[in-house]
Each structure stands twice: as structure tokens, then as C-alpha cells.
Amino acid sequence: MIEFIVLMGIVVCFSGILALALNFQWGLGGMVNFGLAGFYALGAYSCALLMLKGGFNTFFAALGAMVIVGAVCGLVAFVTLRVTEEDYFAIVTLGVGEMLRLVALNEDWLTKGALGLTGIPRPLGATIPPTSYPYFMLALSIALVIACLWALNRLSRSPFGRVVRAVREDDVVAATLGKNVLWARVRIFAIGGVLIGLAGSLHAFYYQYIDPTQFSTIVIAYAFMAVIAGGRGAHLGTVLGAAVVMLLLEGSRFAKELVPLEADQLAAVRIIIIGVGLILLLIYRPHGFLREYRLQATLKEERPEPQPNTPKEAAT
């Protein structure tokens, strides 16, 4: 059991990083990314191909994947937003994402098409014995999640973070104040892309086999669920959201062992449980688990004035 929890912990970590990327692009920067699955596939395939065909080691392959996805995301944002509005950008990401997936499916010479890439090496896979490898990978993944959280928190509290939020709230105001909105958006999308590249690399390391079916649209749905459940704009909340989504997906497999139903009925019931769980969450927790750090402050200000005879509450 403990091994399984460790392995699922790794999955939570890389889906958490993917959700963090979406949270930065959409939650904080207001740029909807419907092509997330395609960019995620690009990250995983870049990392795997850099190792298998380019002879890179795992570290530089992951780094390369981050650079590639970051650059592609930046380019997509630059080319699109130069000529069009933000709303159309969502459609462009959808198209680019689908394009990337179709390239992975059809370019046999490079990606082996529908068969997928096998035998993907792992960081220190040769030196660490297989029995203890999951623990190492979990530690590595947690460290990377913490690093991402730290970097994103620093970033969103910096002057650039204020620009990011300003662009989300009202790009005309931001432009009036002398901010270069296009450049800010290109950077937002590229930074998100770097994180998507990292998540994709971890996905490739974990499964050691990638094929186009792993990057279907459901990946986008799960990432959006994680961001919405965690609280749009809240980085830590997003990681919690990713954990809850995984808990619903995998935990419901255990819950169903207690229900006396046929296997195929259970499969359907399980998916209903996941849906109901998320609907309940949105009804009772429409803002998600945690608030964006700037909004936390406004929340406190909005509270009713404490009664003068309860001075302790005022301190909270």
C-alpha cells in the first residue's frame, strides 16, 4: 500500500506542476490555455526524444523540454496577440494544442506515431535500485513542486506579478499606465510553458512510456479542475486541488470496493462520484480552497467591523 501511495504522490506532483502552470497562465494572467494537453505532450515528447535520439542525459533533456515548451508557448502568444484579441487567443491555443497532438500521432519517423516511445530513461535510474526508486522520485518531485511554488510566489509578489494581475483585470488600464501588455502576456505564457515542459518531463520519467492517448483533452479538464478547486490564482491551493482531483480519481477505486455492484456498473458509478464531488465543491466552495494572496487581504478588509467588546477577534 505504501508504495502505491508513494507512486500516486509522484503523479500528484507532476499534475500539480501542470496545474501550477495553468494557474499562472489563466488564474493569475487571465490567459485561457485550452491547448494544455498539446503543450504537455510537447514537453514529454521533447524530453524523451532529447534522451532517446539526442543522447542528452535526463537533466539536460528536462531542461531542454522546458526551454522548448517555453519558447513555443511564447511564440504562440506573440504571433497571436500581436494581431488579435485575448478571446481569440483561447481558440488559437486549442488549435495549436490539437496540432501538436496530431504531429505526435502522425510523424512516425520522429515520435513512432500511435505506438509511442518506449524505454525512456529516468534520472539516476541506473544507480538507484528499482525497489527504492519510487521514494527517490517522490522526493525529487516534491522538491520540484516546492521550488516551483517558491518561484511562483516570488514572481507573483514582484513588480512583474503586479503587472500580471493588472493585465488580467484590465489590459487597457495596464497599457495606460505605460505597461507593455503584449510583452507581459508573452512572458506569462512562456513562463507557464516552462512549467508545462517540466511537468511533461516528469510524466515521461514516471511512465517511461509515452503515446498520444495519454495527452487527450481529459488532461486539460483535470488541470482546470485542480485550479478551480484549489482557488484561481492561489499557488498552494492549486497543488492541493491537484491532490484532491487525484484523490477523487484513485480514491474512488477503493471506495467502490465497499459497494456491491458489477464491475462495469461500478466503472460508471465511479465517474459519477467524481463529477458529483466536483459539483459539490463548486457549490459550497466556489472560490476554491485558498485565495490568491492579494485577494486574501481584501477579504480581511471586507469583514464586518468587530464589536468593541470582543477585542480578541479584531486581532485575527
Binding site: 500500500m1 505504501i2 508504495e3 502505491f4 501511495i5 507512486l7 500516486m8 503523479v11 496530431l102 500521432l105 502522425n106 506515431g113 500511435a114 505506438l115 509511442g116 518506449t118 524505454g119 528499482p130 511512465y207 517511461q208 512510456y209 503515446d211 492517448t213 495519454q214 487527450s216 481529459i218 498552494l236 491551493g237 492541493l240 491532490a243 484532491v244 484523490l247 484513485e250 480514491g251 477505486r253 477503493f254 471506495a255 470496493e257 465497499l258 458489477e262 464491475a263 462495469d264 461500478l266 466503472a267 460508471a268 465511479r270 465517474i271 466552495r285 472560490h287 476554491g288 480552497f289 485558498l290 485565495r291 477579504l299 471586507e302 469583514r303 464586518p304
Partner: protein, 411 residues
């Protein structure tokens, strides 16, 4: 205090509680999972694009295990315990399931795995953990590249499908062809072999293309292939794409003969239901199938409570996977895959007395005799790298909305 909201502390408390809940479930049955019973993981597509095939396979697995258990189990009275899970027709879900089977339920045998992606994603996990993986998928790559005897295919290899279809085509006497194949790991080897054999035999492949799944329309593809007026068009893919292709063909009024696979043109009757008997008229289709005259298959139909003329394509393989697990464990006198994976070939290929019933086989093995197991889905002979031998292919033609059986052939 509504405005207080959902604090970080509360969120963490809730998460902790939620995380702890599923932990209790496995401990409830951990005691017997490790001791008396033999856990077997069964990953089947219950939802997703292959969702039509999982339920019957699950039923076959359950009935086979029940039958063995009722007769006293294996290894001196230990019962088989199945963990049937939905693979959602997805590679990453199947990989997570394999981890669950191995690490939570301590399974030494993983069976089911209908689609190629599911098998490919679980392959490295099974080999690393030294656990046997029995797949139902056709793509050659599943058994390629050294699996240390842990990966076994209960299906005909994709290139063999191509060989049987080519040979049957030579008999049908078509001279010119168009070929359309779905972008899919098991389709491409079939296409390659078919085209090579046709060209080598002096026949003309006029055009060939690979199409993508889940397109709303295949008009461009249909017009390109059928527009060249080949005598026959061979289509390799799955049900949803074939339905839209055939509608375009009918609408366009093309008169080339159409040849397909039964998972497309029959699919348990779903194809004729979808397009109607008039459109389906005259379509020929092929599919690896059990030898319906074999006693093992007849006994399996009784076990499933199915009518005697019913052709079940995949459930007999699932039956054989469970049966081979039980037989190999009994022969090795061990529930550990490191021991019994080496007994797959001795039990399946012989030498020994041919046995077509798993209970009789277990009986013989207990009395120290060697057996050559003949399953429900095939004769259960294997090559050393895990490919199944001796499964044949059926050919049907649709006439008046009915599937008319033509012939059965082996590669």
C-alpha cells in the same frame, strides 16, 4: 462567520481526513489478500472508446475464477481473488492500475489489457516488478525487445492478421486495391504486411492512406481512395471511424467491394444497427477468433450461459489468461511469478496430455503428470518471447443484415 472562509488550516485538515479514508479500505481485506487467496489484477476497458469489450471479458474472468474456486482452488486449497478495474481505454490509467494491483493487492498476475497503449504502458512496470502481464492486444511491439518471460500475448500478432487476410484475398481474386488504415499501433503492421504481399503477388495497390481517429467526417479520405475505382477497398480501424466512412461511401455511390475487420463491421451487431442492412450489404470482414469447433470453446460457452452458435471474440482469451495463471502456479507449486512464469510454455505447449478443461488440467498436474493445455480462445501455444501461436481468423460477409460465416483460417 461566513466571511472567514476556507482557511488553509481547515483545507489541510479536510485533505488529511480525505486522504486517510481510502487507506482504511485495503486494510480491511489485506489479511486474506496476503494469506489464503491468490490475488489477480484484471484491467479491462469498461468506459472510453473500447468500453464495449470490457464487461463480457470481466464476466468471463469472474466465472472462470469461480469455477476454479468451487472445485477447491489451487496450491492446496487457496482461492483466486479477482480485482477487476476499469482501464478507461487509457494508457496512463492502465499504468496506475498495474501499480495498484502490484503494490496494494500484491498481485503476481495481471490480465485483461485490451488495447495496445494499455499493454505498452504496463509492460515496463510488470518487468521491473517481476510480475506476469497477459495482454489481449495485437501490436507486435508488446512482445518485442526482451520481456524476461513476464509478458504474454493472448491474441494473434498484428502481422499475422495481415498474412491471413492476404491469403484469403488471393482466393477472393481481387486484382486492384485501395487501402485505408486508422492511425493506430495494431493497424499499421496489418496494412504493411497486406500491401507487401499484394504487391509481391503481382496485384495492384492503387492507393493507400492512414487516417486520424475521431474526425467528424472522412469524405476527403473516402473520395481519394474510392475515386480511383479499385476493385476492393480494405479498411482497417475501429467501429466509430468505419461507420462514418461507410456512410460516405454509400452517399458517394462508389461500387468497390469493402473488406474490413469484425471489430468494425460487426462489433456485436452494433455496425448493422448504426448504418442499416442496406448500407452494410456485401461487406466482408475478418477477425482473429477462437476455433468454435474446439471442445474448450464449447465448454466456455456453457460456462458463460451463451447460445451454442454465439461467437465471443475476446472473453475466451480472458478465460485462458485466468486458466493459464492457475495452471502455471499449480505446476510451479508457487504463487510467485518468478517461479510460475517459467511454466507458461510447459503448460501451454506441452509435452504432455492434451487437456481442454482447466479443472482436469489442475487435477493432472496435482497427480504429477505433464499437460498440454488447449484453451477456449486458442490452443494456448506460445513462442519463447511470449507470442501466441495457433489462433486462427474467421471471415464473414454481411447479407441481408446478417453475418454469414465464410471460413476459418490459421496463419
Amino acid at each position: 462567520m461566513k466571511a472567514k472562509g476556507f482557511t488553509r488550516r481547515n483545507a489541510l485538515k479536510l485533505l488529511g481526513a480525505a486522504a486517510a479514508t481510502p487507506l482504511t479500505a485495503p486494510f480491511l481485506n489485506l489479511a486474506h489478500a496476503q494469506g489464503a487467496t491468490i490475488p489477480i489484477g484484471v484491467a479491462l476497458p469498461m468506459t472510453g472508446n473500447a468500453g464495449a469489450y470490457g464487461p463480457d471479458m470481466g464476466e468471463a474472468a469472474k466465472r472462470t475464477a469461480e469455477r476454479i474456486n468451487k472445485a477447491g482452488g489451487i496450491l492446496g486449497g487457496r482461492k483466486l481473488e479477482l480485482f477487476i478495474e476499469d482501464s478507461e481505454s487509457s494508457a496512463s490509467v492502465a499504468a496506475n492500475l498495474s501499480q495498484k494491483f502490484i503494490n496494494v493487492h500484491r498481485c503476481q498476475s495481471l490480465v485483461g489489457y485490451w488495447g495496445t497503449p494499455e499493454g505498452m504502458a504496463s509492460r515496463p512496470i510488470a518487468i521491473q516488478n517481476k510480475v506476469v502481464l497477459m495482454v489481449s492486444s495485437a501490436a507486435n511491439a508488446i512482445t518485442e525487445g526482451g520481456s524476461d518471460g513476464y509478458v504474454w500475448r493472448f491474441q494473434m500478432k498484428a502481422t499475422d492478421w495481415g498474412i491471413v487476410i492476404s491469403r484469403a484475398t488471393e482466393k477472393l481474386g481481387f486484382k486492384s486495391f485501395g487501402v485505408m488504415g486508422l492511425q493506430n499501433a495494431f493497424v499499421l503492421p496489418i496494412m504493411r504486411v497486406f500491401e507487401e504481399r499484394m504487391t509481391a503477388g503481382g496485384r495492384k495497390v492503387m492507393d493507400s492512406l492512414v487516417y486520424n481517429p475521431e474526425q467528424p467526417s472522412y469524405r476527403a479520405e473516402v473520395e481519394r481512395i474510392f475515386g480511383k475505382k479499385p476493385e476492393a477497398v480494405y479498411c482497417f480501424g475501429l467501429l466509430p471511424d468505419f461507420v462514418s466512412i461507410i456512410r460516405e461511401v454509400y452517399r458517394g455511390g462508389f461500387d468497390s467491394k469493402v473488406v474490413a475487420l469484425s471489430i468494425m463491421a460487426d462489433a456485436e451487431g452494433k455496425f448493422v444497427q448504426a448504418v442499416g442492412p442496406q448500407v452494410a450489404e456485401g461487406i466482408r470482414h475478418f477477425q482473429p477468433m477462437p476455433d468454435v469447433s474446439a471442445p474448450g470453446y464449447k465448454r466456455f460457452l456453457q460456462l458463460m450461459g451463451a447460445p451454442a452458435d454465439r461467437v465471443l471474440l475476446f472473453p475466451p482469451n480472458t478465460h485462458d489468461q485466468i486458466a493459464m495463471t492457475a495452471l502455471a502456479m499449480e505446476k510451479a507449486k508457487s504463487p510467485m511469478a518468478v517461479d510460475w512464469s517459467k511454466q507458461m510454455i510447459p503448460v501451454g505447449n506441452g509435452p504432455g496430455e492434451a487437456v481442454d478443461d482447466v479443472l482436469a488440467g489442475l487435477e493432472q498436474l496435482r497427480s504429477g503428470k505433464s499437460i498440454n493445455f488447449q484453451g477456449a480462445g486458442s490452443i494456448c501455444d506460445f513462442t519463447p518471447n511470449g507470442d501466441q501461436l495457433g489462433r486462427g481468423m474467421g471471415q464473414w460477409i454481411i447479407k441481408g443484415g446478417k453475418q454469414v460465416f465464410v471460413e476459418y483460417a490459421r496463419p
